[in-house]
């Protein structure tokens, strides 16, 4: 048996920016990613963009997932992207989930959010996309 190092697990940060207190969706996704073999750093509720970016850098994650239901996505997501860029970490892909109107989703994707999952998205789709974003060429 060759001494090939096992492929390192994908590290994901799951965080909820802003003030809404509903984290069931984030927990369901965290669990699905865990069951897909990923190491999920669960930062939980009420995170500021600064805290999220700091956690992403300290934890050296491959990908960031943001969950939001409060409607503040147009303010908070671009802030996270800007802080990543400022920290020379713009290469870390960010995906998002929550209640995000189609028009906003289009604008956020143009701003650099790599994938957006609304209600009814399948966990399989989320896991596959997360893996592709984390492993694939940026």
């Amino acid at each position: 048996m060759a001494r090939t190092p096992k492929e390192a697990p994908i590290r994901v940060l799951i965080a909820k920016p802003g003030l809404d207190g509903h984290d069931r969706g984030a927990k369901v996704v965290a669990r699905a990613l865990r069951d897909a073999g990923m190491e999920v750093i669960y930062a939980g509720l009420r995170q500021t963009p600064e805290e999220i970016v700091r956690a992403a850098l300290e934890e050296d994650v491959d990908i960031i997932g943001l969950s939001i239901l409060s409607g503040a996505h147009m303010a908070l997501f671009p802030k996270v992207l800007a802080l990543l860029k400022k920290s020379n970490a713009a290469e870390i892909p960010v995906f998002a989930g929550g209640i995000i109107p189609d028009e906003d989703a289009r604008r956020l994707k143009r701003a650099g959010i790599r994938a957006i999952f609304g209600p009814g998205s399948s966990l399989e789709e989320i896991v596959t996309t997360a893996r592709k974003l984390a492993r694939g060429p940026a």
Partner: protein, 321 residues
């Protein structure tokens, strides 16, 4: 600087306080990336300075919350802190949910703290294989104190004593009668007992049982473990907890036990690392050497017993070197 020129760039960056470089090298160490080896080697002479304080105890006793408050206390004293928090990996998927960061409430702009979550990746004993090395990297990065939170452990998850200079065992009221405290395992490794959730009824009883345990005899090193009571909501006893930890650290210096304990821990580490190397070699030998495959066939046919075959495998492996 004489040594500066020989240092690998990443090691230099870590010494210069580059947190991103630290985070990246920690990942390499966790992933057993050979690229980390020269970095660890270069930094090793600059380690062994920071106290490494381990926190063990059953899940849900409040280890993460205590560490959060202790970090606040240490920052108030102007001490910088590295935290490694280990949570279990799934034996089924290999994945994990690392949730200790939730309790962590430092301001995002405080550069005097570095928090890293870590999955145990199949390692028994409550810490990951790389935990010791990661604590060492934080030491090299200049943090004054390194705190290690183990996987919420059972009675025999004692690996923290081979990583930490001071081991804190965190308990809560109503974990059992005083005979539990006499049992082997978790109660034997404590330098400091911390009865958390001291606002709950029964805290005084738990504290009394532990004091009685301590009064029955000192530990191997001659240290009588301290018993402190704490609460995290609202915070209480955090200062006493830190003083108990510091008292043990001072004891290590005053008694000369620090060097003896460090030597013991390094001996454990050397054997662990050598075992891993030998294990790889033996597996490779068994897989690739036709004579060893024949030997395996003979074991399968019950013509040779496994113990005899193992001795031959080892002899052949060392003879071929």
């Amino acid at each position: 600087m004489r040594q500066g020129a020989e240092l690998p760039a990443a090691a230099r960056a870590i010494l210069d306080g580059d947190r991103r470089a630290l985070a990246k090298v920690i990942s390499q160490v966790e992933n057993r990336d050979p690229a980390a080896e020269p970095i660890s080697r270069a930094l090793f002479p600059r380690t062994g300075r920071a106290p490494v304080v381990g926190f063990a105890g059953p899940l849900g006793v409040g280890k993460s919350s205590l560490i959060n408050l202790l970090v606040g206390r240490l920052r108030a004293l102007d001490r910088t802190v590295g935290v490694v928090a280990v949570d279990p990996s799934s034996p089924f998927s290999g994945g994990s949910v690392l949730g200790d960061r939730i309790r962590f409430e430092r301001s995002a702009s405080d550069t005097g703290v570095f928090f890293r979550s870590m999955a145990s990746r199949g390692e028994p004993g409550g810490v990951a294989a790389a935990t010791r090395e990661v604590a060492r990297l934080m030491d090299a990065a200049g943090f004054d104190v390194v705190l290690v939170e183990t996987v919420g452990s059972g009675q025999v998850d004692l690996a923290i004593r081979d990583v930490a200079s001071t081991s804190v065992v965190v308990l809560v009221p109503h974990l059992g009668d005083e005979v539990q405290t006499l049992k082997a395992g978790l109660f034997e490794i404590a330098d400091v007992f911390c009865v958390n959730k001291s606002d709950l009824p029964g805290a005084d009883l738990a504290q009394r049982d532990l004091r009685e345990l301590v009064s029955l005899g000192v530990s191997r090193t001659g240290w009588a473990p301290t018993v402190v009571t704490t609460s995290t909501q609202p915070p209480r006893g955090i200062e006493e907890l830190w003083q108990a930890i510091e008292a043990h650290e001072r004891f290590l210096d005053a008694s000369g036990q620090r060097r003896a304990e460090e030597r013991r821990r390094l001996a454990v580490e050397l054997v662990e690392r050598a075992q891993e190397l030998v294990g790889h070699d033996l597996t490779e030998r068994l897989d690739r050497d036709p004579a060893m495959q024949t030997l395996l066939d003979r074991v399968a046919a019950r013509a040779v017993d496994p113990q005899t075959a193992a001795s031959r495998l080892r002899r052949r492996s060392s003879a071929r070197r």
